[in-house]
Amino acid sequence: MTALTKAGIGGLLARQGILVAFVVFMIVFAIANPRFIDIDNVSGVIRSSAILGVMALGVTFVVIGGNLDLSVGSMMSFSTIVVLDLHDTLGPTLAIPAMFALTLCLGAFIGFLVGYLRLNSLIVTLGMLSAIHGLTLMWSGGQNMDIADKWGTWFGFFGRGSIAGVPVPILMFALAAVVLSLVLSKTPFGRKVYAVGGNGTAATFSGVPRARVVFMTYIISAACVATAGLMQASRSLGSQNTVGQGMELEVLAAVILGGASLLGGSGTIFKTVIGVLILGFIQNGLLLIGLEFYVQYVVTWVIIILAVWLDVAAKRSRLWSPIA
């Protein structure tokens, strides 16, 4: 009987461990500093997590498909710089689709290399991290990019606007999460992503076009990056070339924290959203208790290691238990 109860709690922890940890963390910090759960603070955290969050949604597809995407940070810088530059030359209405098209080309290129040529995704996207950074600098000439007339454009809507009191970035993050969650969990394509990431050979033996599925995961990732770039550019209306630098690791941390396996084949959009929020609230909480901003970098790394360790430990304990 005790054994069964233990298995029940253990099972809950293994399945929803991250969620439980999140709730415990929120309670502890809320007691330490009541401002932490103040509605303005919560809304602020979600809003500032939205850009990272949208990127993490796309990377979730890539990771479930069994690959990595380390290029999203510098790709986001690229999107931001490009859309800001085109804003003043083409006008916002054309700048946005043009920026999406260019970003999707980058995603297609990566998807081609990883999906069709079967190159290692770590190497490809690590290389693209650097290459895209180069493209961004070439585009901008190394200068910061600013919109000339910041007050005379509607472009700030995506980063600064709000609808019925809810900030637009939060709405976009929520909308993207709902749509992509449906794609991943309900469509035939989503099913194939899980199959390809879970066992690519078996997927091929079941007639799943593996290369095309991997290609599409990178397209989705790029579309999310473009959306994030739009939000970023719209919020700041001006930007440095390095605005997305380092975000690839935070994004990956959020995805893993949510419980997607780096080996592919598991994870959900909902879990990734939880991962994003945990990361956002932890960083916010650390600021509120008076730690310096720089501590975040160290803490993010510690969280990644903890999450991976929890994941691996849970798997190992499952491996040793018999198959019932």
Binding site: T187, Y194, T201, T204, S206, S266, P322, I323
Partner: protein
């Protein structure tokens, strides 16, 4: 009476909610080959993990040479002379044979330098006992699987073993290689080493073992003396009933030719292969590993491109360049490597079964849960798949039920031709006969079925006709009336039959 080298007494191992071992006894005498048998999930692996120090028992004791012993790690087990030879090889491909054998305990000279001369000399001494044809300096990755297994055995011989445990050692060996292995086992026997031999293969068990202990559902069912028992008795002890392996040709009318292959060739893999299968017929492909059978199946399924030849499905010439083409034209393949090629182990039963047709099971943009569950339930009943729910992760099912999921995957596509490669590899005896009956049933329902197998009793049992292959060529085709075991063995060994006889 000599004292046993190894004795397990009343071993109990529980996991949350499950009693995996329920008071198991096992005794191995010096110079004895002791078979450990049981269906998959009967507790053999758990028992061996307890013996090897990987798992700690909740109750019971282990005696080595009648000394009570606590095993806390595999290294300790090895130190006490209990050595395991695993089914799955654990060798480093890039290292030499010698380095693999002495991995972690390389002989040293001063300043920690490796004493290569001594390493190679000691390795060659061990290899000569095994009568193998490679030397200490060979890179392990260059060896065949069988020879790699010999390296694994050589590793066991570096300590003076008291007891050696062989876990399904012949799974990937040819007959010639098997007999070398059996010689090695006989040598160990002469030295007074006790041997535990785990296998599903009855013929081997009866050829080399002295006693047989049987486990069922984690409990000890008894020990039989091999020469005083029969396959039937062992099977009954294992599954609680006996198994039918008689010949079994179709009694129903055969339909039209479903698949016709003419002059198919693919590089050095196979040449000029021709055969056909009719609806309602089971065509067996028999031959040694490497004879080209699996490669033909892969070609029919669009995974390989042939150099020459034609494939006709239902009389129409078919061009197949990818599995998607093959599936569209009515070919289903149950591959030989169930876990690697057949299933996405982390996915649930239903999703695995409907994977090839998931594009067609939609309402609007979304997969229709209802349509999927309907397919799953239909084939769950039809194939008698035992799982609590479609939500169950496939990796948690037994081998037999996993195989039924793969078969159901293709049946639900209503294929013209179903190819089943090694239908019962790694499947326990009880489920084997279920799979065999299932294949016969499919033929009776009018499916054209191709069965590829390396087990002669299986081919003889399920096939209406048998194609015998040797080294990429079709040697001969037999009907189930004319085939004999001798002529079949001759054909797959490349001996041209004497027509006059």
């Amino acid at each position: 009476m000599t004292q046993p080298v190894l004795r397990l007494e009343g071993i109990v191992k529980t996991f949350p909610g499950v009693r995996a071992l329920d008071g198991v006894d096992l005794e191995v005498r010096p110079g004895e080959v002791h078979a450990l048998m049981g269906e998959n999930g009967a507790g053999k692996s758990t028992l061996m993990k307890v013996l090897g120090g990987i798992l700690q028992p909740n109750e019971g004791r282990i005696y080595i040479a009648e000394q009570p012993t606590v095993m806390t790690s595999p290294i300790e087990a090895k130190g006490k002379g209990v050595v395991f030879i695993h089914q799955e090889l654990s060798l480093a491909d890039e290292l030499t044979v010698a380095e693999n054998i002495f991995l972690g305990e390389l002989p040293r000279k001063s300043f920690g330098r490796v004493d290569w001369a001594r390493l190679y000399a000691e390795t060659d001494a061990i290899l000569s006992q095994l009568r193998v044809r490679f030397d200490a300096r060979t890179r392990v990755g260059d060896l065949s699987i069988a020879n790699q297994q010999m390296v694994e055995i050589a590793r066991a011989l570096t300590v003076d073993p008291r007891a050696v445990i062989f876990d399904e050692p012949t799974a990937s060996l040819t007959d010639a290689e098997k007999s070398v292995l059996f010689d090695v086992i006989a040598d160990l026997q002469k030295k007074g080493v006790g041997i535990i031999y785990i296998s599903h293969r009855m013929e081997e068990i009866f050829r080399i073992t002295d006693r047989i202990s049987v486990l069922r559902d984690g409990s000890y069912r008894g020990t039989l003396v091999t020469k005083d028992t029969s396959e039937d008795e062992v099977t009954q002890l294992m599954i609680g009933r006996s198994l039918d392996l008689s010949r079994n040709a179709s009694h129903h009318e055969l339909g039209e030719v479903a698949l016709e292959v003419r002059g198919l060739s693919c590089g050095h893999l196979y040449r000029d292969v021709s055969f056909n299968v009719r609806k309602g017929e089971v065509l067996g492909f028999y031959g040694l590993v490497g004879a080209g059978r699996t490669e033909i199946a892969e070609t029919l399924f669009g995974l390989r491109t042939p150099d020459a030849g034609t494939i006709r499905i239902d009389g129409k010439e078919a061009r197949i360049t990818s599995p998607i083409d093959a599936i569209r034209q009515g070919i289903g393949l149950v591959p030989e490597d169930r876990k690697g090629q057949g299933l996405v182990l982390g996915m649930n039963c239903r999703d695995n079964m409907t994977l090839p047709q998931v594009d067609g099971l939609t309402s609007g943009p979304f997969v229709s849960d209802g349509a999927e569950i309907e397919i799953f339930d239909r084939y769950k009943d039809k194939l008698d798949i035992r799982t609590p729910s479609w939500r169950q992760t496939v990796g948690n099912l037994s081998g037999g039920n996993q195989q039924k999921i793969v078969i159901g995957k293709w049946l639900s596509m209503r294929p013209e031709v179903l190819i089943v490669d090694e239908p019962t590899r790694g499947i326990d005896v009880g489920s084997k006969s279920e799979i065999h009956n299932l294949i016969r049933d499919l033929a009776a329902q009018g499916y054209a079925v191709i069965v590829i197998s390396s087990e002669m009793p299986e081919v003889l049992h399920v096939s209406d006709r048998i194609v015998a292959m040797y080294s990429g060529k079709v040697m001969r085709e037999f009907t189930s009336e004319e085939v004999t075991e001798d002529s079949l063995i001759q054909a797959i060994s490349g001996i041209v039959p004497d027509r006059a006889a």
